[in-house]
Point group: C2
Chain length 205, copies 2
Amino acid sequence: MLVDVLVATRNRKKLAELHRVLDAAGVSGLNLLSLDDVAPFDEAPETGATFEDNALAKARDAYRATGVATVADDSGLEVDALNGMPGVLSARWAGFAGEAAEKDGANTALLLAQLRDVPDERRGAGFVSACALVDGAQEVVVRGVWRGSIVRAPRGDGGFGYDPVFLPDDSERTAAELSPAEKDAVSHRGRALAQLVPTLRALGG
Amino acid sequence: MLVDVLVATRNRKKLAELHRVLDAAGVSGLNLLSLDDVAPFDEAPETGATFEDNALAKARDAYRATGVATVADDSGLEVDALNGMPGVLSARWAGFAGEAAEKDGANTALLLAQLRDVPDERRGAGFVSACALVDGAQEVVVRGVWRGSIVRAPRGDGGFGYDPVFLPDDSERTAAELSPAEKDAVSHRGRALAQLVPTLRALGG
């Protein structure tokens, strides 16, 4: 019998990513649900000061409302020359909540403009993902980091968010120029989810 | 005989501020010049990682080009919930270089939008000013800090930059609601310039 696990997102790309990570790790026995598969509940706004705070709050809220073991993530881009910002504000860096694609473009354009005069040697950055798993027996939260630097113009159509301006260390392609499988293997969320695999495997029985 | 001191700015409000600080301190014997009073020279862009770096670079460039003892400042707003940003990027936080008033409005609107979901207890901020004095004999750099918090809507017509959204600690009025003299007495730049007074007094002979 499959065990339900709720992934606290409506983002299909994130759901697909967890599917791929679990498949790659050979984890079976889980039936992944998204927020669209459960009854609506009040979702608290993400106002925590850290990715971990937000991931845990999201997972706790969903578990409390549904009784289903829940995985939630919060992630963003920490830019060295911005003292680690946009950080937890990555999704609303340009200050407005519009359609995802339009918002991504505005956030990325703002970041590039802010860094216009920042020289190459100070353009380091890291994608960070905190992933939390909450059920009646445990709360687990893990962090994955993917280091790179911010290029001067967007490149590539894949991924989402800041992917087109993020050049991973030791890569000649931006995150948006990698295939989904290539990205999973090295990305912040891939690294965080990989750390959750043992816990998820145990749920599957 | 008056001794020339170049204030490395074209901002009349900054020049007037230094005049008031010197008057209040009873410093005489100095003839303050602005960049409009000297022959044009190549001004390096402000790309330093700290206010001190930028203030010193600006003062050094001007002294080297003119041979006149030079005071330069770099200042900005450090917001706790943004890990100390906008910081050295305060003047171009919204990413564009337009007319001053329009740019100020865009920067302030962006900051308020970024902090929309940040609760009151995490809205602390500080205005910071680094002031450097460079002449053939010395390089002095000092820092002044003015602590407060970021309100949720602009108030007041005075000052410039982020003044309308900055509520100084122990004040019921924003920085833009203070008179110039009130602001000088407590502001970051006032505090920094006050630390330069002994050095400036010595120049006056």
